[in-house]
Amino acid sequence: MIEIKNLTKRFDNILALNNVTITVEKGQVYGLVGSNGSGKSTLLRILSGIFMPDSGTVTIDGEAVYDNPKIKEKIAFVSDSPCFFLHANLIDMAKFYARLYPRFSFERLEEINKIFPIDKKAKLQNMSKGMQRQAAVMLALACQPDYLFLDEAFDGLDPVMRDALKGIIACEIEDNGLTVIISSHNLRELEELCDSVGLIHFSDLVFSKAVSDIKTDIHKIQTAFKNLPEESEFNELELLKSERTGNLIQLIVKGDMDKIKPIIEAVEPIFFEEIPLTLEEIFIYELGGKGYDVSHVIQ
């Protein structure tokens, strides 16, 4: 289990993370969303033991991560800009990682290589950004970690490879109980993969919830009325947004659907339908309702 408590990190005068508290259970996929410079990468680097926390605690399986090789053996981190040795190919890098990660498996590397068909003998530094990222992910997975941290993992991958990566991660979770934290500024990428999602905005964790909870708590309702009702008739609803097009009204409502439905039906709609919300919409409405202007945050 990953436990981040009251984590604060500064870079000179810049506050990168402010009092962040997150808990990620084993076998979960946690998505970190936020704009550039919001602190996602910093959080992942602290989780990987690259940075020292200024205050607060970061523990994995109950132990602090920084400068702790025992815990780091269980972690694989794929940076947003993967690093390889000069003139090294995939085999060279695999040999390097194999020396340090006791569970490193060349067999596993071969298996993943079938999905990500990278020339093992080609120099990694000459490869495209997407291929380099594939190589980094392959190496990380070959370490057979308990915890995988991916920073902008889908960046630079073509749609086929994105799906392939998602598939591999899903298999790892199912087979080996892998715990994954993925950062992205593209919420759509995370929607189908993540169990929980956190939004970091200007160093604050403004939102952290299980996806299932989010989806049952906020609803997009499309309805039409013969005679337009008074606004006061919806006073009982926790209305986040309403939009009217002719007789058609679109409502974003927070709360239990079982309680929302009778209130709307009492106004006798001609038509009533619940439309599935994307995670992105949920974030925008939820945070917009809290006074955050996050429309530019989530792409």
Binding site: D12, I50, P69
Partner: protein, 585 residues
């Protein structure tokens, strides 16, 4: 044992990183080793069978080994430790399951070992070739021993280089900064020597050839640079058995070398400790930036203070060495920080530092004029002997009698009372041996506790003529001209007369004794000013260069130069008499 160590998880990760780094370094090390082999063996046995020539040829490859290894260690450290300074590689290395200290240590050790491999190959092959081509030669064992010492010195020097370079890499935020700082620290003294040699030093010290200048150039500038210091050691290492007559490491600044070695050990220890405290997110940014104002102020203050202290101060060479080491380390971080911050932002810091330096100067000035050594003249009862040298007069005499010592001290106080200002030089702990041929009075005390106090005052001797003359006419001074007891064994000597006409004449030693005694009496009785004896203005006659020829050994044993005023009529008569004797002889 190795397998047991490898099964130890702590050691295993260290070993794996070390092994991997060694493997990655292999190309550089192999190329360097080949070069080392070629330079040391390439022309060993060409067209000669003379064992001495072969040994000499073998040995002259060693400077190239120094160059190769020095370059290699700098490159390896820069390559292997730059993981701290690049965001990409910092992400990769610091995420690895190895402690940051072990990671740093393993990379450092691999760099150091890699750099000494060519040195070992070069030296060992020198020995092998020496034994192959010069077996049976009497010098071979001695030669091999010298080569092994050279190897040990080179390994120690490479360790110093590696440690300092690793320190630079650790405490600067950028590889480029680290390399730049190292080069500046290494080569800055060269520039200092060149730039400060004449005008600047003259303006600082009053005279370019002064002792302080010499100390500043030779010790301060030299010690400030690890490169210079070690290069000097390297060059000196070549002196061993050059003539196959013994090692000549005595000339090497062993203390300076040991100080650098200790500094290197401390830097390495501190770097390893700091590895776990280092903020890795600072990759690419200088570490020292926040500390810059403090460091800069301190550095400026110390520098200004040291310059003035060197002008008026009483520092030993050890002080210079230690201070230079500290300055070298501070200098490195300063330069890397300046690179990032720019000069404009530093102006305020420099001004503040200069103000601090001024404060030091004021304190020094109070110290110097109040209780300082300027006014400190040793008590006569503490002095075992004193030597007074008066330049231009070519007068030098040693005094041991208490009354003579008191006369010298009176002269010394006389000079001080006239405040010659900055035109004098002082150094404690060393005897001044150079004669710069300008008007100066030098007083060298040897105290009863074994210490030396040496003072040289660049001043007009005329101003102190009474005191000087007083000493000149003292018994001890006269004793110099009595030719006793040094030349008692002489049977006769050659007298060179430098006046109308110049002549070389061979005279019995007894005649010389008589001549000296007469001269001494006339000096004592006569009213000769120091100027008469000094400048020759009142002296129309010179008799110089009495060369003492030892018949037993068949060689000249000593020379004496006498300035004889025209008023010393009896002396001159004796000289003429000698001329006659010589003619007879």
């Amino acid at each position: 044992m190795m397998s047991a160590m490898l099964s130890n998880k702590n050691f295993s990760s260290f070993w794996q990183i070390f092994r991997f780094t060694m493997f990655k370094n292999k190309a550089l090390v192999i190329v360097s080793s080949i070069l080392a082999f070629l330079f040391t063996q390439g022309f060993t046995i060409l067209k000669t069978t003379n064992s001495k020539v072969i040994l000499y040829r073998l040995k002259i490859g060693i400077p190239m080994l120094w160059c190769i290894c020095t370059l290699l260690v700098a490159v390896l450290i820069a390559v292997n430790l730059r993981y701290m300074h690049r965001k990409k590689s910092a992400d990769m290395f610091f995420a690895l399951p190895i402690s940051t200290r072990k990671l740093f240590s393993a990379r450092f050790l691999a760099s150091f070992i890699g750099s000494i491999i060519p040195a070992i190959i070069g030296h060992i092959t020198i020995i092998i070739f020496a034994f192959i081509y010069c077996s049976g030669s009497v010098e071979i064992d001695f030669f091999a021993c010298g080569i092994l010492i050279s190897l040990a010195a080179m390994i120690a020097a490479m360790f110093i280089f590696a440690s300092l370079a690793a320190g630079f890499m650790m405490f600067t935020g950028h590889t480029y900064d680290a390399i730049q700082a190292f080069l500046i620290v290494s080569f800055l003294p060269f520039l200092m020597v060149i730039l400060m040699r004449r005008d600047i030093i003259t303006s600082l010290y009053g005279y370019n050839g002064s002792v302080s200048t010499s100390i500043f150039k030779d010790e301060f500038c030299f010690s400030i640079s690890p490169f210079m210091s070690i290069l000097y050691f390297a060059i000196e290492s070549l002196n061993f058995n050059y003539d196959f007559d013994g090692f000549s490491y005595n000339n090497v600044d062993i203390i300076g070398f040991l100080i650098w070695f200790m500094v290197a050990v401390l830097v390495l220890i501190f770097s390893i400790w700091f590895a776990a405290k280092r903020k890795n997110e600072r990759a690419g940014e200088p570490y020292v930036t926040p500390l810059l104002p403090i460091i800069l102020q301190f550095l400026t203050a110390v520098s200004v203070g040291m310059i003035f202290a060197a002008m008026f101060g009483d520092f030993t060479s050890l002080f210079y060495t230690v201070a230079a080491v500290i300055l070298a380390m501070l200098g490195s971080v300063i330069f890397s920080a300046i690179q990032k911050r720019g000069f404009k932002k530093l102006k305020k810091d420099i001004l503040t530092g200069a103000a601090s330096g001024l404060a030091i100067i004021i304190i020094l000035a109070i110290f110097i004029t109040g209780v300082g050594f300027e006014n400190t003249v040793p008590a006569a009862e503490d002095v075992a002997d004193v030597v007074v040298k008066v330049d231009l007069l070519t007068f030098e005499s040693e005094f041991e009698k208490q009354e003579d010592i008191e006369k010298v001290i009176a002269l010394h106080k006389d000079i001080i009372s006239q405040k010659p200002g900055r035109s004098y030089d002082i150094i404690k702990g060393k005897k001044i041996s150079s004669n710069y041929g300008v008007e100066s009075i030098q007083i060298d005390y040897t105290l009863k506790n074994g210490e030396y106090i040496s003072r040289r005052y660049y001043c007009k001797i005329e101003d102190f003529s009474n005191s000087v003359e007083n000493i000149l006419k003292s018994e001890n001074s006269m004793e110099r001209y009595s030719l006793k007891p040094s030349y008692d064994n002489m049977t006769d000597c050659t007298l060179r007369i430098n006046y109308s006409p110049s002549d070389f004449i061979k005279v019995p030693i007894e005649k010389i004794y008589e001549l000296a005694q007469t001269y001494k009496n006339e000096l004592r009785e006569g009213n000769h000013s120091w100027g008469d004896l000094n400048s020759g203005k009142a002296t129309t006659i010179w008799c110089s260069d009495v060369a003492f020829y030892d018949e037993k050994t068949g060689s000249f044993q000593g020379y004496l130069n006498l300035n004889i005023p025209s008023t010393c009529t009896k002396t001159l008569e004796l000289i003429d008499e000698c001329r006659g004797l010589g003619a007879e002889g």
